[in-house]
Subunit: 170 residues, 3 copies
């Protein structure tokens, strides 16, 4: 299990795809984006265009734990990205966020094959004035800590290049 953190447009998705493509396919791509607006639709389209077969895309804007568990046992899985899933979960007022995060961590821990998780590192700026943004930053930070603790490798992507935070370089 590898956790790939990076800033906006850091090349983290492309780096993570490269990690998965080192394994024999087909590979499963678990997409968490929800197309709220045109800007997001354009980003989703751009990401999809980079992934021809043997990528199989599964959309999981909400039940990410289930999407990680399902599928052929041992198949390499890429989740892109955790922060979009967290946003969706936080905006769903009916959601039990703590329980969903627990379920996600358990699903990651139980993954039978290579699992690469992509997420935005969002905590290195000034404290946001918006309370929801502050809460999001806190939840994302806590989630990253829990996943990093159980991951075999943690990578921070800067300008498309990996900085190894935990584990070995591939």
């Amino acid at each position: 299990m590898t956790l790939v953190l990076g800033g906006a447009r850091s090349g983290k998705s492309r780096y993570a795809e490269g990690l998965i493509e080192l394994r024999p396919g087909p590979w499963r791509y678990v997409a968490t984006a929800q197309a709220w607006d045109d800007e997001m639709r354009a980003r989703i389209a751009e990401h999809r265009a980079r992934r021809p077969a043997p990528w199989e895309t599964v959309d999981a804007p909400r039940d990410l734990a289930q999407a990680i568990r399902q599928g052929p046992r041992g198949q390499p899985v890429l989740v892109d990205c955790l922060t979009l899933w967290l946003t969706n979960a936080m905006l769903d007022e009916a959601a039990d966020l703590a329980a969903e995060v627990d379920a996600l961590v358990e699903a990651c821990r139980g993954a039978a094959g290579p699992l690469v998780l992509v997420s935005n590192e969002v905590g290195f700026g000034i404290v946001p004035e918006n309370a929801l943004a502050r809460r999001f930053r806190d939840e994302a930070g806590r989630l990253h800590q829990r996943l990093a603790a159980i991951a075999d490798r943690v990578v921070l992507v800067v300008a498309g290049l990996p900085m190894i935070v935990k584990g070995d370089a591939e």
Copy 2:
């Protein structure tokens, strides 16, 4: 002397506590938080709950240099965190910020025992629209540079994990 930088909810406080706890106690915790509102009070309470004896907590929202100098000679000291202290100092219109920063740097340089300083890295975002936030970012960056220059070790905490910027891994 170790400078521990990290983003919001990066696990930097917990990592810093672990560094101090490698030494024989009792340990001194210098807390700089000022409880302006409920959100801050909750954060302070959460941090305190993690620190039973042999931690001795000293509140120093303003005179941090003095708090670092006092106490038994050689006692391990953790300061958490510099950015809250800087915020307090910048909001105090009667303060001579440059003189206080000089005094703080001198107190750190003169520390007789292990000293671990925790601070938020806040400079990796978009330029804030708010002029005070820009000034805070500048002051924090300058303070980190001065302290990093005299520190034996500088660590950037990402997702609870240390990236060594200066010195050796512990």
Copy 3:
């Protein structure tokens, strides 16, 4: 060619100057700042005060590719910084940004002497509410990825200290 990334007040300019000063002078400093307001004027003045002869300063707020190509062949060149140039280009409604970025990357690839590029890493914060800021963040991230791919060294400066992302420590 070295790409020096860093946050606000991270000491990235000073670190980059140090890299150039390891070579025999005179050195060329390509300044991209445009003095829009007093705050910017103060920053420019502070940066200039650090660079006596043998630094030769060239102002290139817009035609950066040309400024990199001109000058004595093999002269060490420091560009400070790419993010200011990108801001200027994005605010110029008559500009063909994609073509200018291509020209800049080509000029960097063709540099005959040591070339050090300084830029702000701005992608590690919360998604900005401002659409222009989001676009800037995306363009900066893409530019950094392209330059990092062709650079011999990429360095992330934290608190005045270099973290090597690509290549060897100097």
